[in-house]
Amino acid sequence: MTLSKIFKNTLLVLTACLVLSACATKKEITTGIDGSMQGDVYTGTDTVKYLADGVPDRVFFATNESILTTASRETLRAQAAWLRKNPSINVVLEGHADERGTREYNLALGERRANAAKDYLMTYGISSDRISVLSYGKERPVDSGSNPLSWSKNRRSVTVKAN
């Protein structure tokens, strides 16, 4: 009986640990530059290039995530609208990860991020034949720094004209 009690307690402790560590990975990171990060997703514009006037070329992701944020969805809707107006243009979605992961997993993660962006473009009417996907994992950062802000700029999917 005492044994089962111990087990129960251990379980409780374990669950508590799990909850805590889950929280730890999602904690808010504040940076010195105002408004350029939300959670750990980059929201600034200093690395962003433009596909066309008013259409940013990239979207950013949280650590280990491939979920599109509200801002990302807005960017992709603008990209989709522009692509609909320019039906002869095809694109490559280049998926990237930050340096804080193992190389092979990050290759897969970059592919997953680029595909999240691709799926969204497709729901806004862009045919899958016009979109190819290329993952660079952590091999091609835009920012060579080793701090949360640099990493958040590097976790990205960039839409590049293919032709």
């Binding site: 730890a24 997993y105 595909n115 060579s144």
Partner: protein, 446 residues
Amino acid sequence: MIKKFIALFLILIPINSFALIEVDITRGNLDPLPIAVSPLSIDEKSRKSFEKALKKENIGEEISSIVENNLKTSGLFNPLSKEAFLQAPDIANLKPRFEDWNLIKAQALITGKVNYVDDKLRVEFRLWDVLAAKEMMALAFTTVPSNWRRVGHIISDKVYERLTGEKGYFDTRIIYVAEEGPKTQRIKKLAIMDQDGFNNKFLTLGNELVLTPRFNPTSQMVTYLSYFKNLPRVYLLDIETGTQEVVGDFPGMTFAPRFSPEGKKIIMSFAKDGKSDIYTMDLENRIVERITNHPSIDTSPSYSPDGKYITFNSDRSGYQQIYIMKSNGSDVKRISFGNGLYGTPVWSPRGDLIAFTKLHKGKFYIGVMRTDGSGERLLTENYYQEAPSWSPNGRVLIFYRETKTDNKGEGFTAKLWSIDLTGYNERQIKTPTDASDPSWSSLLSN
């Protein structure tokens, strides 16, 4: 290069079975065995012939210093200073005066000689137990002179094996990725070198990104990831001929390749629609088999040495963890349960352990666990390091580590490091450029 060495033959192995000196390699060795490596003696005529052929003034001394360096870096031996040696190399090789070697506290002694015979290099060497005043081993072999560094490695392997009871790992090579340039535009090339960092050779020019090279069991083929024409695919390279080919015909990125233990298959990940699954391709009949089928990322597969199981990395639980399964993909079991994320599992050549990279609270660890996930042991902690690869005897791990070179975190250097399974004897392996993704070959001679 391996074929050239068939001329190797062994003579007279009078090994007596009573207990002589022994080195225990299962524990961290804080008291390495004092060993005297007497320079291989050489007659004047042979010395001149080798000087002409190899541009080395005294090839006997050169080979001895290779042996000395190997034994020292293993952490198990303490080669004594040659200045203290009382007996001349040629006389010591005939019959050591054990009192003299005892006096400088040597417990083991290596002697030998080199000859130039019919344009070949002939070596003989002996290992002596100084305290018991007995010969433990005597070997001789002949090879082409240009193999002189390998001669030093083979002697080291024989001595290591005789004194520890396990095969050595000195006559081996490392394939790795040589790196140059800023982080945002890193140039990467495949490179190969001897285990001690000598004979470095670049295998690609750096025109395209290359990653994660791994040897096949005979160490003549390499599988790796190349971004040739911006199509990331698994490639197969024959080191001798330089021929390369794409592995399989996949409509998307293939990555994380390794050979099966007998070298017949390549196991790798194929990424499609945001999912990565594990596939194999048979190199003889080109048949592709799907091993996992899951909406998660499944990657970094590595076979058990008997080929019956596969360990791999998956985030099917939400985050990166280590799993094992049967080689047909059935009986998937998660084995990593500690705090943090786990990646890059690699099965030990001895079969009993899996080495991995662990990420926890902003640190990277290289560690090992048993194949059921028990007995997790972290060997080394650092800001960033990953990708362990086993020495062929399963006693040492090589990996790579990035170190920041300024406090802003902008400058960095990537180097290869090795550490004993015991957690002791961590050391950097010298490379001409920055380096990553090392893979250790099998023993080239046996």
